[in-house]
C-alpha cells in the first residue's frame, strides 16, 4: 500500500502549505497552530489486493511451504494465492479460528508464527516492525474482511527499466514494478512483487529488486505479482567493443541485422561464414536429413556463381527427401504412433502429414484442417489428432503446446506459477473440445479398431473448483464483461472448434506465428530464440524478441509457407556462420555468433552410416530401401534408433527426442554389431571399390566425401598412405579408416 502513506504525506504537506500561507497573511503570532482536517480515511484492507500479495511476497504460499499440496505443519493455502476463498477459510475460519484473534490481533497465530514469537519451521518471515506486518494487523482489526467477488485484479505488470545493459563492475540497478488493475488504477508493487533472476550466473536480484551484474551474458529478471508475470532484461556485455567495431555498418538482411544488433549490445563479434563443404553438409542435413552426394559436392565446389548457395538451398527444398525428413519432425510433434492409433490409423495420419509437406501446404491451412478434423481415423488422416489426445484437457494442452508453444499443464490444477494463465483460462480453452466424441465403427470388422471422430450436441467443460460451465475462450482473450448467462451460445453456428481454428491460425495471433518461427529456428540453428523451443512463456523470454518477431512476419507475409521460412533462415549469414568460435565469442552459446554443432538425429545418423558404408538397413515389415527418416513411427523396431534418442511419441514435448550422450551410444558406435557389419559388408562401399580396383586415393576420397562431405586433408591423406604402405590388406585399412571417421565428432555432429 505504498501509495497510501504517500497520499497521507502529500495531503499533510498540502495542509502545511495552506497553514503557512494563512500564517503569512495573519499578523505574526506564536505558536501557530495548523489545523489538519479531513485526512483521507485509510482504505479498508482488502484480502486479495493486500493480504495475499504479502503471503506471496514472503514465500508463505510457495510450493515448498504452505502452498504445497498438503500444506506444511497443518496449514495449507493455495499456491501463490490463486484461490482466495480457500485461503480465507484456512486462515480465518478453519479450526475454530485458531489462527486469528480479531479482538487481540497481534496474538493471532497468523502473525506470531511468521514473526517467530512462537516456534515456526519457516523461521522469521515477517518483521513486526515492517509495513507488511502492520497491514496484516490492520486487516485483523478490521474484522478480517473476506475476499470480494468484484475485487479489481491485476491485468498488467511493467518493469522499469524493461531492459538494461550493465557492465561487469557497474553499480547495481534497482527495478521498479508497476501493476495495472482491471479498474484502470495503477500501483507501485515493487515491495510486494516476487523477483527472481532466471540466470544467477549473469546477474543476481535481491527480493527488493536490486540487480547486480555478475558475469557475461543476458538474463531476465522474472517479476510476478497478482497472477501476472513480466520480465526485465539484463545484459552484461562480454566485452567493450571498439568504436571502429561499433561503427561498421549493419548487415542488410533483416535476420542478420537483428542478430548483429543484439551481439553488439552484448559486445560480441560473429565468426566467419563456413566453407562450402560445411555449408553443403549442414544444409543437406537440416533441410532433407540426407548427406550430399560426392558428385554434388564436386559440382558445387567448381561452381563460380555468386548465388550458388541460394540455388543450392532452393534445390534442397524441392527434393523428395524434404517431405520424408519433415514428416518425421511433424510426426514427432503430432505423436503419430501405432500404439494409440492402431497400425491403420498411424499410416493414415503419417501419410496425411507427408502429403501436406509434399504439397507444401501453408502451415495455417495444415493446422486449420487438423483442428476441424472429423470422421474415420482410418480413412481421414487428420482425425487421428483427436485420438492421440482424446479428452478436452489433453486436447487443450496438446493444442496449446504444439501450435502456440504455451505449456498449459500447470493450470490444470492451479494457476500457472510463472505465467498469467489461470485455471479459468485453461478450462475455457478446453471447452472448445467439450463436444468431441469418439465412436467405434465396424467398417473394418468388429476388431478392426476403427474410430470415428464426431461433434456431439452435448458435452461441457466445468471449472473443477466452482463447478461453473466454462465458455470456450481463446487464450489471452478478454471476454466482454457480460454475465455468464448473457454470453452468446457457443454452439449456435455448429462446431465450436471452428472459432478456435480460425483464431489459432489468424495472422493477428502472434503466438502461432512466433511459435512456428521459433521452432524452425531452433531446428535449424540448434537452439531456439526462446529455449526450450516449445515453452514460449513470458518468463522464458526470447533472447532476441525483434528477431523472433521478424521471422513471424516472414511466415505471415509468405502466407505461412514453411519452405519460405526455411529459405529465409538458411540464406542468412547467421545460419551460415562457422562453428569454429573465435577467442571473443567462444563463451557465447545463445546469441548465434557461431554455429552450435548439433548431434545428428537418430534416424539421420543411421542413414548416414548406411550411406557412408554403401549399405541399406532393412526394417521389419517395410520394403527394402526404406530409409530411417522414412519410418512412419517409432515402433518400427531398431535398437540403434532407440539408443540414439528416437522419441516414443508419447508426450507433446520437443524434449522427448534427446541428443543426450550415453555410454551405450559410444559402445554401439565403436564395437557395435551394426556398425561393424555395415563397414565390412560384402556388397558395401569399400568392398565394391576394392573389387573394382579403384586407386587407393580415389577410395580414400570417396570415403571422406560420403562420410564427412569433404575431401581428406593433405595430412589425413599422408597418414593413411603411410599405413597403406605397410599393409597387405588395403580393404582392412579402409575399413579402419571408415570406422574411425564414423566415430569422429565431425561425423556425429552437424557442424
Amino acid at each position: 500500500m505504498c501509495y497510501k502513506p504517500l497520499l497521507l504525506l502529500s495531503s499533510l504537506f498540502a495542509s502545511l502549505l495552506i497553514g503557512s500561507i494563512a500564517q503569512a497573511e495573519k499578523p505574526a503570532k506564536a505558536p501557530a497552530s495548523i489545523p489538519v482536517k479531513s485526512l483521507p480515511k485509510p482504505t479498508p484492507v482488502s484480502f486479495q489486493r493486500d493480504v495475499i500479495p504479502i503471503l506471496t511476497r514472503f514465500g508463505c504460499n510457495q510450493g515448498s511451504c504452505h502452498g504445497s499440496q498438503y500444506g506444511k505443519g497443518g496449514f495449507k493455502i493455495s499456491l501463490a494465492g490463486f484461490d482466495p476463498e480457500l485461503d480465507y477459510d484456512h486462515i480465518v475460519r478453519q479450526l475454530r479460528g485458531r489462527r486469528i484473534s480479531t479482538t487481540d490481533p497481534e496474538k493471532s497465530l497468523f502473525l506470531t508464527k511468521p514473526a517467530m514469537q512462537v516456534p515456526h519451521g519457516g523461521g522469521l518471515r515477517l518483521n513486526p516492525k515492517s509495513a507488511s506486518y502492520r497491514l496484516l494487523v490492520r486487516w485483523i482489526q478490521e474484522g478480517t474482511p473476506a475476499p470480494l467477488p468484484n475485487e479489481a485484479f491485476v491485468t498488467k505488470l511493467e518493469t522499469t527499466p524493461p531492459e538494461r545493459i550493465l557492465y561487469k563492475n557497474d553499480p547495481p540497478q534497482a527495478l521498479r514494478v508497476m501493476a495495472t488493475y482491471s479498474d484502470g488504477t495503477t500501483r507501485d508493487v515493487t515491495s510486494l512483487a516476487r523477483m527472481n533472476t532466471l540466470n544467477d550466473g549473469v546477474a543476481s536480484c535481491t527480493p527488493e529488486g536490486i540487480v547486480t551484474p555478475i558475469n557475461r551474458g543476458q538474463t531476465a529478471i522474472m517479476v510476478r505479482f497478482g497472477g501476472q508475470a513480466a520480465i526485465a532484461t539484463v545484459m552484461v556485455p562480454f566485452a567493450r567493443l571498439t568504436k571502429a567495431q561499433l561503427a561498421s555498418p549493419f548487415p542488410q538482411n533483416p535476420v542478420d541485422l537483428w542478430v548483429t544488433r543484439k551481439q553488439r549490445q552484448l559486445g560480441l563479434l560473429a565468426s566467419q561464414k563456413c566453407d562450402d563443404t560445411t555449408f553443403l553438409r549442414r544444409t543437406s542435413f537440416d533441410i532433407i536429413g540426407t548427406m550430399p552426394k560426392p558428385e554434388e559436392i564436386q559440382a558445387f565446389l567448381v561452381d563460380r556463381s555468386p548465388n550458388k548457395r541460394e540455388k543450392w538451398i532452393d534445390g534442397l527444398l524441392s527434393r523428395p527427401e524434404y517431405a520424408d525428413y519433415w514428416t518425421l519432425k511433424w510426426g514427432d510433434l503430432l505423436r503419430s504412433n501405432r500404439n494409440t492409433l492402431g497400425v491403420k490409423g498411424m499410416w493414415s495420419f503419417t501419410n496425411w502429414i507427408r502429403a501436406q509437406l509434399q504439397a507444401n501446404s501453408p502451415v495455417d491451412q495444415f493446422v486449420h484442417e487438423l483442428i476441424l478434423a472429423q470422421g474415420s481415423t482410418f480413412t481421414n488422416g487428420p482425425s487421428n489428432f483427436y485420438r492421440v489426445a482424446n479428452n478436452p484437457q489433453d486436447l487443450a494442452e496438446t493444442t496449446s503446446q504444439v501450435f502456440l508453444g504455451v505449456r498449459l499443464q500447470c493450470a490444470r490444477c492451479h494457476n500457472h506459477p510463472f505465467e498469467k494463465w489461470s485455471q479459468k483460462d485453461y478450462y475455457q480453452f478446453a471447452a472448445y473440445f467439450a463436444r468431441i466424441g469418439l465412436k467405434g465403427s465396424n467398417e473394418f470388422g468388429i476388431f478392426g479398431g476403427e474410430q470415428v471422430v464426431r461433434v456431439n450436441n452435448y458435452g461441457e467443460v466445468h471449472h473443477p473448483k466452482n463447478g461453473k460451465r466454462m465458455y470456450p475462450t481463446a487464450l489471452g482473450a478478454q471476454l466482454a464483461s457480460l454475465p455468464d448467462d448473457k454470453l452468446p451460445n457457443p454452439d449456435a453456428e455448429g462446431d465450436r472448434r471452428q472459432k478456435l481454428a480460425d483464431w489459432l491460425v489468424n495472422k493477428n495471433n502472434r503466438l502461432f506465428a512466433r511459435n512456428i518461427a521459433n521452432r524452425y529456428w531452433g531446428y535449424l540453428l540448434g537452439i531456439g530464440i526462446a529455449n526450450p523451443i516449445d515453452d514460449m512463456r513470458t518468463t522464458n523470454p526470447p533472447t532476441n524478441p525483434q528477431l523472433l518477431d521478424h521471422l513471424a512476419d516472414v511466415l505471415i507475409k509468405n502466407s505461412f509457407d514453411l519452405k519460405a521460412l526455411v529459405r529465409t533462415i538458411c540464406n542468412s549469414d547467421t545460419y551460415q556462420r562457422s562453428s569454429a568460435a573465435t577467442l571473443e565469442n567462444r563463451l557465447d552459446t545463445r546469441f548465434f555468433t557461431n554455429y552450435q554443432p548439433k548431434r545428428l538425429a537418430a534416424e539421420v545418423l543411421l542413414d548416414s552410416i548406411d550411406y557412408a558404408c554403401g549399405t541399406q538397413e532393412k526394417f521389419p515389415s517395410l520394403p527394402q530401401g526404406t530409409r530411417a527418416i522414412q519410418l512412419p513411427d517409432s515402433l518400427v523396431g531398431s535398437e540403434f534408433l532407440d539408443t540414439f534418442g528416437r522419441p516414443a511419441r508419447l508426450i507433446a514435448c520437443e524434449c522427448e527426442r534427446t541428443a543426450e550422450p550415453n555410454i551405450s551410444q559410444t559402445l554401439r558406435m565403436m564395437n557395435g554389431e551394426l556398425v561393424n557389419r555395415k563397414v565390412g559388408q560384402w556388397d558395401g562401399r569399400i568392398s565394391k571399390m576394392v573389387q573394382a580396383k579403384k586407386s587407393d586415393d580415389a577410395i580414400l576420397i570417396e570415403i571422406y566425401l560420403t562420410a564427412l562431405g569433404r575431401y581428406p586433408t593433405t595430412k589425413e591423406r599422408s597418414v593413411v598412405q603411410g599405413v597403406l604402405a605397410f599393409s597387405k590388406d588395403h580393404k582392412l585399412v579402409f575399413e579402419d579408416v571408415l570406422i574411425t571417421l564414423i566415430n569422429s565428432k565431425e561425423f556425429l555432429f552437424n557442424h
Binding site: K107, Q117, V118, E142
Partner: protein, 565 residues
C-alpha cells in the same frame, strides 16, 4: 521481538507473581543477565519441548542452565568458562555464513548483547542461583482487548418498515435491522447447557459467558488468559470444565466451580498446543482432552494427574468423548480417522477409517450404541462402535460440519456447518428433519437443552442463536463483550424486534433499513418502545410473540423526507 506471550503460554493461567527487583551485583550470572537474553532471542526454538523437532531446534535446548551447559550430545560444549574465544556459542552468534548464524533467519544479536555473553563466559560463566529455575518466571497478564467497534454487528428483525422509510431501491420484503458498532466480536467456539438446563455457557477468546436461560440475562463472564475452545459441565452441574490454550504454545484445562464462583486450583499439565475438546465421564471423576498437539489425554479430574496420553493419531485431535461405562474414549482427528481407546491401558481398541477428509465432529449416542462423525466431507457417517463398521450415512449438509450433538434422550441429532445452518436429524433413521436458519456465517458449535426443547448454535459472527426445536423458530440472538471496569456489555434481541441489554450497548443500537440508518428522532423512540425484558422472558418460555408494528410517529422537529412519487 516480544516474548511475554510465549511465557504467558507456557505457564498458562497460573497466578501472576511479581518479578523481584534486580539488585546490582558485581559479577555477571546466568540467571540475571544471560537467561533473559536467551529467552528473548533463542528459547523460542531451543526449548525442552521442541528438542525432538530437529528442524526447529537442532536438538538443542537453551531454556535452563543445565541445558546450556550440556549442549549437544557428542559435540564440544557450547562454552568453555573463561574462554569466550573458543566457545561455539559465541561463534554461532558472530559467524558470517547465514546458514550458521543464530538466531536463524532473524537479525543477529547486537554487539552489546554478544559482548555481554562474552564477558559472562570470560568471567567464569557463573550460573547464579539456579535452584528456582523453571518456575520463577513472572507472567504478564495482558489487559483485555477494548472493544474496537470498527464495524457494525447486524441482527435481523421481522419489523416491517413504514412506507415512508422506503426508497426506490428498497426491496419489497426488506425488514428493519439492528446495528451496533461493536464488531468484530470474538468468535464463539463452544456452547453447552448445564444438566438442569438453567445455564447456557458460551466460550470465546479469553472468556466464558454464562447466560441464565430463565431470565435471558448473562452473568458476569469468567475471564481467562487465553482462548477458550471447549466447555463441559460435570454431570452434577457443579463444575464447568474449560478447555483451551494458546495456539502453537500450550493447552490446558481449568475447572470453574459454579457454586463458589471461582476457578479451582487444579492444573492439567502436558498438552503443548491448544485443546479443541474436553469431556467428562459419566461419574464426573475423569476428564478427557483432545489437542492440536496430536494427542488426547485422560486425567484424574480431582488431582489433575495424567492417566493416559493417547498418541496414536498423526494429526490434531479434534473431538473426544467417553463411552457410558467410562471404559473407552472415542477420538476424532484431522488424520481422517476416529479411534476408540481403552481407558485402562491406553491401547487402540478400534480404528474407524473411511473418511476421505479431516474429521471435525464426533458424537456418541447416550446409550453408547451409535457413533456419528463428519467433517470436511459434509456427509454424516454412522458407525457401530463395537465392530467399527459404517452403518448409515446422512446426506444434506452443505459445507464442512463442525460439531454434532445428540439430544439427552438420544432421539435427535443436531449439527452445524460452514454454511451457517443448524440441522436437526432423526437419530433413528438418520434422516434430516429440519434446517434452522438465521446465522450468516460459519457455525462452530451446537447444543441441545436437556429437555430437548431448545437448540443453540454459535460461530464466527460472535452471536449466539437460540431456536425452538419443535417449531424451528429462531427465538433469540445474543451477543456480549468482555467485562471492563465500567461493567459488562451484552444484548439479546428477539426476531420480533424486542431487545434487552446493558445500558451502554442499548444506547449504541441503531435501526437500519437496507444499509441506511433511520432518522435520529425515530431511533430514540423505537429504542424505548422496544426495550422489553419481559418479552425476552416470554421468548424463553416459548410463548408466541407478535412482531412489533411500527406506528407512524409524528416527528416534531425533523419531519421525514417525503418519498418522491
Amino acid at each position: 521481538m516480544k516474548t511475554p506471550m510465549l511465557w504467558a503460554g507456557l505457564l498458562l493461567w497460573s497466578l501472576p507473581c511479581i518479578a523481584q527487583q534486580n539488585t546490582a551485583k558485581p559479577t555477571l550470572t546466568y540467571m540475571k543477565e544471560i537467561k533473559p537474553l536467551l529467552k528473548e532471542r533463542c528459547v523460542v526454538c531451543h526449548n525442552r519441548d521442541s528438542v525432538k523437532n530437529l528442524a526447529l531446534s537442532g536438538g538443542l535446548a537453551l531454556d535452563s542452565f543445565v541445558a546450556l551447559k550440556t549442549g549437544l550430545p557428542n559435540k564440544p560444549p557450547l562454552f568453555v568458562p573463561g574462554k569466550s574465544g573458543s566457545s561455539e556459542l559465541i561463534r554461532r552468534l558472530e559467524v558470517s555464513s547465514p546458514a550458521l548464524l543464530m538466531p536463524k533467519g532473524g537479525p543477529a544479536l547486537s554487539k552489546q548483547q554478544i559482548a555481554l555473553v562474552k564477558k559472562w563466559i570470560d568471567s567464569g560463566a557463573n550460573p547464579g542461583d539456579t535452584s528456582k529455575e523453571g518456575d520463577a518466571t513472572a507472567i504478564l497478564i495482558e489487559p483485555f482487548p477494548i472493544n474496537s467497534g470498527l464495524n457494525d454487528l447486524l441482527l435481523s428483525t421481522r419489523i416491517v418498515p413504514l412506507p415512508e422509510m422506503r426508497d426506490k431501491q428498497t426491496p419489497q420484503n426488506a425488514t428493519l435491522q439492528y446495528a451496533l458498532k461493536v464488531a468484530p466480536l470474538p468468535l464463539l467456539t463452544s456452547i453447552v447447557f448445564s444438566p438442569d438446563g438453567k445455564w447456557l455457557a458460551v466460550g470465546t477468546y479469553r472468556s466464558v459467558t454464562i447466560w441464565d436461560t430463565h431470565t435471558g440475562q448473562p452473568q458476569t463472564p469468567i475471564t481467562l488468559l487465553n482462548s477458550v475452545q471447549s466447555l463441559a459441565f460435570r454431570p452434577d452441574g457443579q463444575v464447568l470444565a474449560i478447555g483451551g490454550g494458546a495456539a502453537g504454545v500450550s493447552g490446558e484445562v481449568r475447572l470453574y466451580d459454579l457454586v463458589a464462583k471461582r476457578l479451582l486450583p487444579i492444573t492439567f499439565k502436558g498438552h503443548t498446543d491448544i485443546l479443541y475438546c474436553v469431556a467428562w465421564n459419566r461419574e464426573g471423576k475423569l476428564l478427557a482432552t483432545a489437542s492440536h498437539d496430536k494427542t488426547a489425554r485422560v486425567w484424574d479430574a480431582t488431582s489433575g494427574k495424567e492417566l493416559q496420553a493417547l498418541k496414536e493419531h498423526s494429526d490434531a485431535v479434534t473431538r473426544v468423548c467417553f463411552s457410558p461405562d467410562s471404559k473407552s474414549v472415542y477420538t476424532a482427528s484431522l488424520d481422517r480417522n476416529a479411534r476408540r481407546f481403552g481407558v485402562q491401558d491406553g491401547k487402540v481398541v478400534r480404528t474407524f477409517s473411511g473418511h476421505a477428509e479431516a474429521i471435525y465432529a464426533l458424537a456418541l449416542s447416550p446409550d453408547g450404541k451409535r457413533l456419528v462423525s463428519s467433517g470436511i466431507e459434509p456427509r454424516l457417517r454412522w458407525w457401530n462402535p463395537e465392530d467399527g463398521n459404517t452403518t448409515n450415512y446422512s446426506d444434506g449438509s452443505s459445507g464442512q460440519v463442525n460439531e454434532i450433538v445428540f439430544s439427552a434422550d438420544g432421539k435427535r441429532l443436531a449439527s452445524v456447518d460452514a454454511s451457517g445452518r443448524l440441522r436437526l436429524w432423526d437419530a433413528g433413521g438418520g434422516g434430516q428433519q429440519r434446517v434452522l436458519e438465521g446465522a450468516n456465517d460459519w457455525l462452530y458449535t451446537v447444543a441441545i437443552s436437556p429437555d430437548g426443547k431448545w437448540v443453540a448454535g454459535a460461530g464466527s459472527e460472535g452471536v449466539l442463536y437460540l431456536w425452538q426445536t419443535d417449531s424451528g423458530a429462531l427465538r433469540l440472538q445474543c451477543a456480549s463483550w468482555y467485562p471492563t471496569a465500567k461493567g459488562f456489555d451484552w444484548v439479546a434481541i428477539t426476531p420480533e424486534g424486542y431487545l434487552d441489554g446493558s445500558p451502554n450497548w442499548l444506547a449504541k443500537t441503531r435501526f437500519r433499513l437496507q444499509n441506511r440508518d433511520l432518522a435520529p428522532s425515530l431511533q430514540v423512540a423505537l429504542r424505548s418502545a422496544l426495550k422489553a425484558s419481559e418479552t425476552i422472558l416470554k421468548a424463553l418460555q416459548g410463548a408466541p410473540i407478535e412482531p412489533y408494528k411500527l406506528m407512524p410517529v409524528p416527528a416534531p422537529k425533523a419531519p421525514l423526507p417525503k418519498p418522491k412519487p
